[in-house]
Every structure is written in structure tokens, then in C-alpha cells.
Amino acid sequence: MKFLLLILRNIRRNLLRSVLTALGTMVLVLVVTLVWSILMLLDLITAEKSENVKVLVTEKWSIPSRLPMSYANTLAQGAAIDPDDVRPLDWMTWQFYGGSTEKDKITRESLIFAIATDPSKVLTMLDGMEGLTPEEEQLVQLYVERMKTNLQGIILGANHLRNTNKRIGERIKLYGMGNFKGLDLEFEIVGVFPPGRYDTLAAFHSEYFARAFDAYERDHGGRKHPLAERSLNLVWLKVADTAAFNRVAAQIENSPYYTNPAVKCETASSGYAAFMDAFRDLVFFMRWYLTTACIVSLAMIIANAISISVRERRMEFAVLKVLGFEPAHIMLLVLGEALMIGAGAGLASAALTYTLINHVMGGLPLQLGFFSRFFIPVESLFWGPYIGGGAALAGSILPAWSACRVKVVDVFSKVA
């Protein structure tokens, strides 16, 4: 305890230096925490699960995948034919729709990308919904109920609501763009997705989409919309475990139902990994270079501060040795100071980052793949002290070694 007090007193003795070192540590831990938070999420979604496996069924070769709607029913059953075939636990279909709020203009702000789906599947099958707070879940449930009863209901992403300056309850018209030209849809905004994963995605009733295709055909003298025959983009399935996934994948990929176009089956994490592979060099850079450079800079700053402190206190260390302190005690004293500044500043930085990003900013806005916002995981509260403390220890080993090797005779002979 006395040792700890001594360390604390030493830290307070040159408060300016301690504060500057701590602040330097805090800002660099902030960068590492942000980078690790992004990497952690990417690692999490691309890591294969062994239970409750989400399966993604898409067109085998082309992107974007376009399948006939007639595939939906059998795919939802995992192409099961025989009684002992494996059937998915749950399923969901996605039909993409892209429209602009302005008739002849498409900008990042006016563009709304939406999926037409069965509303009852939003809470059970949409990725990330399992992590909602009870309040958020209750709200989404309410929006889903509204969507079920109102065919023209749409749940928007938080970014859409901000960009269009609309509120829940208001109406919105989308003019189909690109492949969706001619499919102009009118919606009533019945809700908004909780901030995070679905900031840039909207969802509406698949029945309304089907009716829009019918209306197009009626209005165009019986000519179907070019996408009408292949409006299904992907099918999500949920299966119990990896073994069930392998069975369902084999059932689907070997099924004679899906030959033109052929389909492929993969786990959601495998699909995400393929999608994120385009960013692999960026992720590699963040994981190895950015983090390393931050930690090296941090270690240098701490090493510098501690070595200055050690040089200024050579006399003091000599006196301590005269008083009976062993070299190991002096080493511990120096390391303890560094560790306390590093770990303390690291913890403070992580806590501040967590609060600022998650509760003040509502997530870190960064478009990377299909993510538009990143949150700081609670684990960062452990990373902070580890990063700060680890860098402090690494940076202070040499100064501490030099401190414990102070020779009493040398120091006092210089004084004399």
C-alpha cells in the first residue's frame, strides 16, 4: 500500500508531465479503440456459427442476384421433398427496390433502397434484430403490426428519415430508378429501424410490391415489367446447426427446381466475408499498420516521459538505495508509475470513447460495405487499460532498467 502511495505521489509530483503523457495516451487509445471496434464487428459477422445458422440463397453467378418469385415457396422449405429431408426453422424473402424521392434526380440523399418482404419476418429473421433492447424490440413490433395492416406501410432507415426530412405517419412517393423504372410506389411511413445496422435500408410489404407489378402490366397493355419474372433477390433461411446447413445446401443445390438460373447456398457469414473481401487490404492496413503505428507512437511518448523522469531523479533513486530499496523495488516503482498513467489513461479514454460514440453521437458514421454506423462494444473498457498499460510497460522497461542500475557512488561523487 505504501508502495502504491509512493507511486501516486511521484505521479503527482510533476503533474504537468503526467497530464501531458496521460492525454497523449488517451488520444492514441481512442484511435485504437475505434479501429478495434470496427474490426471486432467485421470479425463477428464473418465468423462461422455452429448453431442457429443463417443461410443465404442467391443466384449462382450473377450479381445482383435475380431469381424467379416462383422459387420462393420451395426454397423456404429448403427444397425438401422427402419426409426425412431437413426443413429450415424459419425463412425470409428479399425483393430489392430502389427509388428516388425526386422524379428526375437521384442523389445520395434522395435515394432509398428498400426490401419488399413479409412483415412478420422482420423481427424473427432480419440480422441484428436479436440484439435490440426490449424497448427497441417493442417499437419494431409496433411498426411491423402497422405494416401488416397497411400494405403501403414502410419502415425507413434512420438516414432516410433524416435525408427526406419526413416523420412517422407522413407519406412518401418513390420513383423507381434503374431496373425499377416504371415502378413508382407511394408509402406511408409507419416506423423507423433502430439506429445502426439498418440506417440505409427500408422495408415494405411484399404484397404491395406484387400488386405494383400487376398494376404496371395493366397500365402497359399487358406488357410485364422487365423485372416481374425475376424480382426475388435472395432468400434467407435459418437452420439449427452446421450439419443441418450442409444438408439443406445439398438439397437446394442438387434440386432440379433451380437450374435456370442456378442458385447457390452459403452461410450468411460466408456471404458477408465474400462481400467484405473487396476491403481486405483496407482491413489488413487497419488491423496491422494503423494499430501498430498508434501503439508504437504511444510507447514512444510514454518512454520519453518516463526516461525524462528517471534522468531527473537519479539522485532520488540513489537516496532510496541508501535507505535500503533493492534495484527491483526501484524498477517496480518506475514501472508502476508508467503502468498507472498508461492503464488509467487507457481506461478513461475507452470509457469516454464508449460514452461519446454510443450515447452522444449515436454510433460512428462510416460507410464500409453494408455498414453505415459502428458502435463501441462494452469490451473496449477492457481494451483501454490493456493497450495503455501494455504500451506503458513496453515503453518504460528501458528507463526502469536504467533507474534500477543507478550507482550510489557515481551519483554522490558528482554531487560532491
Partner: protein
């Protein structure tokens, strides 16, 4: 702007040197006496500047690529309302009408137009290592006439030939694991995608490879259940075509089920004519609704991702710079503390407080510059490295292989940042040294 700031910085240093009466030798000596502290602080700067240069080189590479793709006189025509080639569907009848417009220049009596089908397709990765994705996205461009397309896009071949009219090659004997008589699809690859596909080869294949760095003429790869033969490699570095595979459109349409054109690229006389033709197609052309864009503008619009990366880089740089300032401040405060008596003596022998401030500022600047110059040297090593990324505008975006490019502007930004941090880090310690009373300092 960078030039102006650099000039200002140079003027500032010149002024400091001119105003500073304390000999520069004294400043240099105090740095070398405390060489460990100087080195540690400089190393922190080195890490920071190296990182900054690498990040900016990435963004610069993307910018050069998106700005470098496209020909000024070209107009890119997509289907009405399409923001991206991948979402466009053009009918043949519409294309024919447009191709007969007089604004389009001719070559050998034919209008310079290229009918294209752009597709993103899945490729199962052969020999994928554990933990790596099992498939990747490849960008295919189906062309009717490769010679005309090459002329329209001003793309030449680095090696090999363009694909033949048939677009396929029949094997004269058993080869590539296929029997005699089998047909291989002829493909021309961008250098980037050739490099990417070349990584799939096993050590045994590499041992016998014509080119160990990338696939080359005569190599094969598998895509869409078919074997493709590389007949040419494009000189496409620095453009988004670097990541594309070009092949016969009719074959691509059959294999991947995309039977419509996505893009019509037409050549007009120059940039102004291209803009005028776009305007004409948008406002006066009534035969078919289309979405025309000057080709260079289309590729420049893919810089949306760049802007995002740039914002992230600026944020990271600012945060790391704050850390760097604290580090150098620590060093300079310690330097002032250690030399309180020196400063007292300097004041007593006639140096004014501002001379002391300038000496401290110069010292801080020199440390920062030392680290900055090392950082620039280290950062320059990333020049020419290749990286994959995605460039996107409003549409789906393109996966690209780009080259990290370090240029003089990046060095200038790094040096400027170093100077600013050096000044900021030395200012407070310098002011505290300036305020020291000579007699108190000596006591």
C-alpha cells in the same frame, strides 16, 4: 493551397532563423546532448507521418484512378434512371438509333461506338486457403467489337491479342485438363485482375508459370463452370478497367443470363462536344429515354468513397497529431526544466525573452522535422504498392485494384503537419521559458 501554406511555413522558419539571436549551434547541441529524448520524440513523429503518408497514398491512388478513367470526348449512355452500369438495361433498337447521330465521330467509316454489357459475377476461388472467402466478385465487360471498344476507351494491350470474332478457341489437343475439341472462352484481362487471379495458383502451378506475378497470355481460369483462356492483358494500370475481364458479349450473355446491353459508349469530337451531346440526349432526343453522362464525369462521380476515406484519415490524423503535440510538449518542457540555469545565463548576457522563445521553437521544430523526414522516407516505400478497394458513387460501386501513389502534395502535407505540430508542441514550453526571470532562474 498546399504551395501557399508551404511558402508560409518556409517564411516562418526564415523569420525564426532571422529573429533568433541564440546561435543555432546551441540549439543543435542541446538536441544532441539529450539524444535519447530527441530520438524517442522524433520516432513517435516518424510513426505518425509514415501512417499519414500511407493513408493519403491510398486515397490519392483512388483519386488518380477514378479521374484517370474515361476519355474526355466519350459519352456513356445507360438506361433511363440508371445510376450504375450494373442496373442498366438498354434495348438494341434504342442503341441503333443513337449510333446514327451525327455528333458521333467515325473511324474507318464506322461510328466510334462500343456496345457493352457490364456484369458482376461470382467466381468460386480455387485453392482458397482456410479462413478466406470461398468466392469473389469479378467484373466482366462483354463487347461486340473489341478493337472498336479498345479504340473508344483508348486501351491498348500489354501482351497478347484481343479475343477473336467467335470469342472461343477450340483445343487442338488435350490440354488444361480438357480434351481435344473442347472450347475455351477467350478473355482479355486488366493487369489488376490478372494479378488477383494469379494468386489462386498452387506452388506447383507457379513453378511452371509464364509469369509468377500474374496470369499471362496462355493461362486459364475457371468462371461460371467454363474454362477461360487468357489471350491478352490490357495496359490498364491507373484505370478502373484494370480490374475488368473483357470477353465476347454473346458468350457472356448466354453463360450469365444477361441478354441486354447495359452501356453504350460513344466518341464525340472533344469534351465540349461530349457535354453538348449529353445535353442533346437529355433534352431533345425523343426516340428513347436514356441516361447519358460524360464518361469522365461518371468515373469522377465514383469518388464518393474517397471523400469518406479522406474524412476518416483527417480524423485519425488530427487525433494522432494531438498525441504527437503532447509528446513533443513533454520533451520541450523537460528541456526547459533541465536548462533553467542556461536560460538564466542567456538572459543575463543580453538575450531577450523572445530570443529564448525562438530558440525553443526552433528546437521543437527540428525534432519534429527529424521525425517527419524519416516518416516521409519510410512512407515513400508504399509508393507503387497495390491494394484492393471499392469505389462508389450513388450506385453499386466497383471493386478495383489500385496503386498507392505518393506525390509531392502528400510530402508537402506531411511536412506541413510536422511543422505545425513542432510549433504547437514548442509554443507553451517556449512561452514558459520566456517568462523566466534571469536571477530566479540562476538561483
Amino acid at each position: 493551397m498546399i504551395e501557399t501554406l508551404l511558402t508560409l511555413a518556409a517564411v516562418l522558419i526564415a523569420v525564426l532563423l532571422a529573429v533568433g539571436k541564440v546561435p543555432l549551434g546551441y540549439t543543435l547541441r542541446s538536441l544532441t546532448v539529450r539524444w535519447r529524448t530527441t530520438l524517442l520524440t522524433a520516432l513517435a513523429f516518424t510513426a505518425m507521418v509514415t501512417l499519414l503518408i500511407a493513408m493519403l497514398a491510398f486515397v490519392n491512388g483512388m483519386k488518380i484512378m477514378t479521374e484517370g478513367t474515361g476519355v474526355p470526348g466519350n459519352v456513356m449512355i445507360l438506361a433511363d434512371g440508371a445510376t450504375d452500369e450494373a442496373f442498366s438495361n438498354l434495348s438494341v433498337a434504342d442503341l441503333t438509333e443513337i449510333e446514327s447521330e451525327p455528333a458521333i465521330v467515325t473511324w474507318q467509316g464506322r461510328p466510334m461506338v462500343s456496345r457493352e454489357t457490364y456484369l458482376v459475377v461470382n467466381q468460386m476461388i480455387p485453392n482458397s486457403s482456410p479462413g478466406r472467402p470461398q468466392r469473389r466478385f469479378l467484373q466482366l465487360r462483354g463487347l461486340d467489337d473489341p478493337l472498336m471498344a479498345a479504340r473508344v476507351h483508348e486501351i491498348s494491350l500489354q501482351s497478347g491479342t484481343w479475343f477473336s470474332d467467335a470469342g472461343v478457341r477450340e483445343l487442338k489437343e488435350d490440354a488444361y485438363g480438357e480434351v481435344k475439341g473442347a472450347t475455351l472462352i477467350e478473355a482479355v484481362l486488366g493487369e489488376g485482375v490478372a494479378r488477383e487471379l494469379g494468386r489462386d495458383r498452387t506452388p506447383e502451378q507457379l513453378a511452371h508459370a509464364r509469369n509468377r506475378q500474374r496470369l499471362d497470355v496462355g493461362d486459364t481460369f475457371k468462371l461460371g463452370n467454363r474454362l477461360w483462356l487468357v489471350v491478352g492483358v490490357m495496359r490498364s494500370s491507373g484505370s478502373t478497367f484494370n480490374s475488368e475481364i473483357w470477353a465476347k458479349r454473346a458468350l457472356i450473355a448466354a453463360i450469365f443470363g444477361k441478354d441486354t446491353y447495359t452501356t453504350l459508349v460513344v466518341r464525340t469530337a472533344d469534351e465540349q462536344s461530349a457535354a453538348a451531346f449529353c445535353q442533346f440526349l437529355k433534352e431533345k432526343y425523343t426516340k428513347a429515354p436514356v441516361s447519358p453522362q460524360v464518361e469522365k464525369n461518371y468515373y469522377a462521380s465514383l469518388q464518393e468513397t474517397n471523400k469518406q476515406f479522406l474524412v476518416a484519415i483527417i480524423f485519425i490524423t488530427i487525433v494522432m497529431s494531438v498525441g504527437g503535440v503532447f509528446g513533443i510538449m513533454n520533451t520541450m518542457f523537460a528541456a526547459v526544466n533541465q536548462r533553467i540555469k542556461d536560460i538564466g545565463v542567456l538572459r543575463l548576457i543580453g538575450y531577450a525573452p523572445e530570443h529564448v522563445l525562438v530558440a525553443i521553437l526552433l528546437e521543437s521544430l527540428l525534432i519534429a522535422m527529424l521525425g517527419g523526414i524519416f516518416g516521409c522516407a519510410l512512407g515513400s516505400l508504399c509508393h507503387g504498392m497495390s491494394a484492393t478497394s471499392v469505389v462508389a458513387g450513388v450506385g453499386m460501386g466497383k471493386s478495383v485494384a489500385l496503386q498507392l501513389t505518393v506525390d509531392s502534395t502528400i510530402y508537402a502535407v506531411a511536412i506541413l503537419l510536422t511543422l505545425v505540430l513542432g510549433i504547437l508542441g514548442g509554443l507553451l514550453p517556449g512561452l514558459s521559458a520566456m517568462r523566466l526571470k534571469p536571477l530566479e532562474a540562476l538561483r
